[in-house]
Symmetry: C2
Subunit: 798 residues, 2 copies
């Protein structure tokens, strides 16, 4: 057993274990110990809890608006895993009595949440109690739970369990009707949502050890339906209760009521153990593809798997739906996708489980109508993707997000209207997919239409400056959201050019390979053949801020270097209230060079073949001290660029920062700018894969060549992971001395490999073992020798 920080332990990196309960941490632990399967997320809360403890089951594809609210967000549904155990009239609770052998564990390997303890009430009677649950990957609507109760004294027990419909919902109650129902032994609440009349059915069925048959009364209120089960146990007696919960809704299935009844009844028949076994086979397959093994650093190992786990359960695979910025851990950010999906979440799937990645790309195709509508509504054309994208791709982000905590006035945030890089970001992901898979068919089927519509949007958004003979993007919001309303944000301009170049490539290739399809796409988007002239003209003459010849610095946006230069720490002292939003329109950072998050560095990570190590170093040195890391997206970018810029200690520090945001509650900002911002930071979770594979292993694909530039953290003995490139699996093992790449027999083609500056070919079934020269270690050794020499006799400075 290894102690981690934040009151946590692990056994072998495949689980997190909490050994004592901290009531101050229930927002955080509720998220960290959560279970889910991409369809629903069930927070890692306790069975006896209610909404005040942030119990929530958040279900995808249920976007709706509560009456009087402007927030279209996912619904949290009635809690079918509610269970209170009363021991001799006293409720077993984390907040009362006395707990021994307290143990809360999340299995990262199988997504099993378990809590156990010996609980003693004020009356002195003791029970051993454990609760296990998992969100089934075999039947995604199903969450089985099992309670084990062992009497350590003679006790009278009442188990009150069923469905609690009085639920935590961030922005109002979405349900305009609550109907409690009973079908034989199945309890159910049927809701209907306010805006779209979505029917949501939560059904529950119980199974109890035969020895203790159910003797229960059913009680129901407007928003709850519960059984009270009475048992008498003698010391040593043990019983088991299985409580199966099914959530079905009308966006997912035609007959949600019947579906829920059927599924929950069958689940009760199959029983917990059987269901769990089937569930496990799915996770085994997932980890076979996507596990990352780190030897020598059990903490990093656990963090890696924790984040891979969270990124996985946040991602819908049963349908083409977005990855929420907080996954399904709560309703924050409306359960919707941001650019995070493309830049932080997609890569790990793309190179390990490409089908999942294709689903995400197809999702952006399905949401083209929403993107077109958004462009039109703002006076543009083409596809301007939603900043906050739900099922349809219409813009979900409200005009007013933050509140000025000093005045109580709402703040007009322009994330939705000015953060135009979202559209090129989608093309970036599309291209990444194409490069990784070579899937020309999908490009023709839908990629081209995305790329062309984004190019058209850029045409309608760009401005030409006659005096400078160049195109510019005006009134932007780059990744650094503290500076709205800027011009020529380098990140945005470069990504826009990237997107235009890809549209030009696709157009040109199609004129040869698929002229009919080209014509069909152009017709569909209402463009003619001449559009490529516009694209080429803009791509050629767009302003791309270049590194200064002397300093190598690239200005984040026009005039950035003229702003007040101050560190985030100094700036923080100007806060009147710690909750203040730092950015637009009148936040403390606006007139300074303090960044919310990586902005220019983000560009280095995405367009990973454009800039030299020297440029990355210079800009890292300049921008890093100015960065407040007010976004969970920031540390992983810093870790990657630091790794590439040969700053190994910084890379590792930022790796730890990025990987612990949730588990160690490193991002304590549950409230910011008047908004509740708890929950799992899904992008940060995806970022952990990026830090390890892109950062420390230096993986990238450039013109079909697979590059590595290993820079293992000092304390990692060995790093192992798998990739899939153009459908060909590739195993990677890296130590400080060598790198081993293995291709499977079934691979269909040789892979072109480049390790630092040396090229290799890897044939199917072959392995490639390369001695790697650990540049960093060597340079550190040289530095230490130099230092010793200097200290000894000032030889070097004479």
């Amino acid at each position: 057993m290894t102690d981690l920080k934040n009151n946590l332990r692990t056994l072998d990196g495949w689980q997190i274990i909490e050994k004592s309960f901290d009531p101050e941490m229930i927002v955080t632990t509720g998220s960290n110990f959560m279970i889910g399967n991409g369809y629903l997320g069930y927070r890692g809360t306790f069975a006896e809890w209610k909404k005040e403890h942030y119990v929530a089951c958040t279900v995808t594809d249920t976007w709706d608006t509560a009456p009087g609210s402007t927030w279209r967000e996912l619904c949290t549904v009635p809690n079918g895993l509610f269970a209170q155990l009363w021991v001799n009239g006293e409720m077993l609770s984390a907040f009362s009595g006395e707990a021994q052998d307290y143990h809360r564990e999340l299995s990262l390997r199988y997504g099993l949440n378990r809590r156990s303890m010996v609980w003693q009430g004020d009356h002195g009677k003791r029970v051993r109690y454990s609760v296990e649950k998992f969100a089934s990957y075999d039947q995604y609507r199903l969450v089985p739970m099992r309670l084990r109760i062992q009497a350590l004294d003679d006790v009278d027990l009442v188990l009150i369990c069923g469905i609690d419909g009085d639920i935590w919902s961030l922005n109002g109650d979405h349900f305009v009707s609550y109907e409690t129902q009973q079908f034989d032994d199945v309890l159910m609440i049927e809701n209907r949502t306010h805006e779209f009349d979505i029917q949501v059915n939560v059904a529950v069925a119980l199974a109890v050890s035969e020895k203790y048959p159910l003797k229960s009364e059913i009680n129901q209120g407007e928003r709850w339906i519960l059984r009270a089960n009475h048992f008498k146990l003698n010391a040593g007696d043990e019983m088991t209760v299985e409580q199966m919960m099914v959530v079905a809704h009308s966006n997912d299935v035609d007959q949600p009521r019947q579906s829920a009844i059927n599924e929950v009844s069958q689940a009760r028949q199959h029983g917990f153990d059987h269901l769990y076994k089937k569930h496990q086979t799915h996770w085994d397959a997932v980890w076979a593809d996507s596990d990352i093994e780190i030897k020598g650093d059990i903490e990093a190992q656990t963090l890696a798997r924790f984040n891979l786990y969270q990124a996985t359960i946040a991602t819908p695979t049963h349908a083409k739906l977005p990855v929420g910025a907080r996954g399904l851990s709560c309703q924050v950010y409306q359960g919707a996708a941001f650019w995070d999906q493309e830049t932080f979440n997609l890569p790990m799937f793309l190179y390990t489980r490409p089908d999942v990645a294709r689903g995400l790309v197809e999702y952006r195709y399905d949401t083209l109508p929403g993107a077109r509508q958004k462009a039109k509504s703002l006076g543009y054309y083409g596809a301007f993707y939603a900043w906050t994208s739900g099922k349809t791709g219409e813009e979900l982000f409200p005009d007013h997000f933050f509140t000025d905590v000093l005045t109580g006035r709402r703040i007009r945030n322009h994330f939705n209207a000015w953060q135009i890089h979202i559209s090129p970001d989608v093309v970036y992901a599309l291209w990444l997919y194409f490069e990784a898979t070579g899937d020309w068919r999908s490009m023709l089927d839908y990629g081209v239409e995305i790329a062309f519509e984004v190019a058209q949007f850029l045409v309608s958004r760009v401005h030409f400056k006659m005096d400078k003979g160049r195109y510019e993007f005006i009134r932007l919001l780059g990744p650094d959201e503290y500076h709205e309303n800027v011009d020529n944000n380098a990140y945005t301009n470069y990504l826009a050019q990237f997107a235009l170049e890809k549209a030009i490539y696709l157009y040109a290739r199609m004129t040869v390979e698929a002229p009919a399809r080209l014509k069909a796409v152009l017709d569909k988007i209402g463009a003619d053949q001449t559009v490529i002239n516009d694209w080429m003209d803009i791509a050629t003459h767009i302003y791309l801020p270049q590194p200064d010849p002397d300093t190598l610095l690239i200005e984040q946006f026009d005039g950035f270097f003229n702003l007040e230069k101050i560190t985030p720490g100094e700036l923080r002292k100007r806060l009147i209230n710690p909750e203040e939003y730092w950015g637009w329109p009148n936040g403390i950072a606006v007139e300074t060079q303090v960044l919310k998050q990586a902005d220019l560095l983000q560009l280095f990570v995405l367009l990973d073949d454009l800039f030299s190590t020297q440029v990355m170093q210079a800009n890292y040195d300049y921008y890093e001290p100015l960065t407040e890391h007010g976004s969970s997206l920031s540390p992983s970018v810093h870790a990657i660029v630091a790794a590439w810029a040969d700053y190994p200690e910084k890379a590792y520090d930022y790796f730890m920062e990025g990987a612990t945001i949730d588990l160690y509650n490193a991002s304590k900002k549950v409230m910011s700018g008047g908004s509740f911002l708890g929950g799992i930071h899904t992008a940060a979770a995806g970022g952990v894969w990026l830090m390890i594979v892109k950062g420390f292993a230096g993986f990238k694909i450039v013109k079909n060549v697979v590059h590595f530039r290993p820079a293992l953290p000092e304390n990692w003995a060995e790093l192992t992971f798998n990739l899939v490139v153009h459908g060909n699996p590739l195993s990677v093992r890296i130590t400080h001395d060598e790198m081993v790449l293995s291709a499977q027999d079934t691979n269909t083609a040789a892979l072109d490999i480049m390790i630092r500056d040396t090229a290799y070919q890897l044939e199917p079934g072959n392995s490639l073992k390369v001695k790697i020269f650990d540049y960093l270690r060597l340079s550190q050794r040289i530095r230490s020798i130099v230092k010793a020499l200097i200290n000894e006799d000032d030889f070097w400075v004479e």
Copy 2:
């Protein structure tokens, strides 16, 4: 004697008289009763007062920054007219004792401020006391004052008088040294300013009736030098003291100390009466040119002259210097020019005293280097005139003007950077000057350079939108300052096109008439012959928002009509603090259609030949109810457009509102957004001339034809004023029935006249009497007849 409002009276419209003293009103009355001559302004305060009563003598061309301040503003100089009368040990004061026959008067005809009363101390002793002063138009550095003291009881008097250097200064003390000096009988304080080391000398000399020779002690402190004069008067005795003040400074004269001593000594020798006579001849000449006579409405008559007086004394004529937005009434707005100078102050001079107008145009030529520097510093070229323009034309407006009264944080106002219409506004004034005078020589000498440099600035500022095939101006602040950061503000785009067209005209004409000069100007501004291509391309393809075919409405800027539509009154209820600034970045008006001031209507007034009466009506109807009139520039624009749109009652109401802003303290906003904003609203004063001559007389010059469209207010019997067009004086008399135009014998050319839709010619020495058809009266009569008919027997609606 006619009672006006606000505790004021007038005898014959040539003076304002206050019959009782209101201590609550000292900020306002100090401004209203002020005297001045364009070199200095001396507030209409009492001789015994000090800085806490807002005593100030503000002197032009003394721009300087107090230590620690960012405000470069005019200096207020030591008060050389300080005089306290002690009667039997008790100080005569407006705040103590008892005053009978209180009388404060400002002669509008001659700029004489007089205050008199019989004052009785608590001891019961009485003196009759009067103080007169005027700011000499004959010697602009001189302000003579005369005290008359008549004992009504036997009294011991001590008159303490001299220079009080402990002065009111808005943004810190500008003087780093105070040196009190005495040269024979002349008292002096010599100061030096902090930033530019300007030497300021204030000298004072006394002359007392021979019967009561001076028996005085001189006392001096660090910042004051005073005489204490002892007199014994018996009941009925009367004495006179003349106190001459001279202000000289090193920006105005080489030897300010000697200058001040000489001038003040001579002034004492000449004596008050003699000096006043010479001063009067100047005012006689001014009024002969520029008086407006209104019969039948003594209140309007007084208001007209009050505002003409204030506009006149605010305007420097001794040198080419700007007209301050608060004139010389205090330091607010830094004593600097805004666009108000061109749009509100210049016209009255242009058509009555063209030489004064030429001085203002030349001032903009002299400040071209500052305008070039400003353009350059913001990444443009050409001439971007300062939003706040002092002597050099460099930008004086600070980045932070208002303070957020809710948080205490400073607000970044972009008046300086985004209100680009200032540059076309200067060209507008230049063109107005050219049209009114035909002065081609001045155009060649300096007008062309202004016009070309403004055109070049517009080239460097404009953006081309490829998708729309048009030029746009992005990120603007129009006249409506509540909406920063807007695109295609109609006012700005139209004015920009106007400016480009004039540059094109000048260029084209010079190719024929002055090719060498053209080449010289192009060389000087670093442009080549091809610039005209750019100007023509932009002038042809710039986006000019057009009236909607159905509604006739022109959108103030892109997206304005999508903002929340709410009245200013309703919006006001959202204020948390009455001092809040309503505009950018987070003010209550920003997301609404509430305007600070006339914006589109301002366009109608300036480009007075572009839009039909119907378009003006439609837009007046739409925008007027949305206008908060948060600027003193707003009412006069509304009055003019209302007059043109045949809304006579509204025109008169806005005339009264615009004309009474200062005199009736109609703009009560002494504090706004955390800034002190007292003082005379110089633009509103100039706006009174515009309302009468442009609005009610409908005067404009279009292609050398002098237009009139009379629409006299119902209660005005007759309106008389003079104009000068192309050097030819023209007298105008308008009644409800006829209009009489008279040209002088000495006129050099016939004038083309258009009265409504009929053309006339007016030869030198001739008069033109035209029966005018009073359309408004007639249509009102018809309407009332129709109404009567309808009421009688429903004849019309059957």
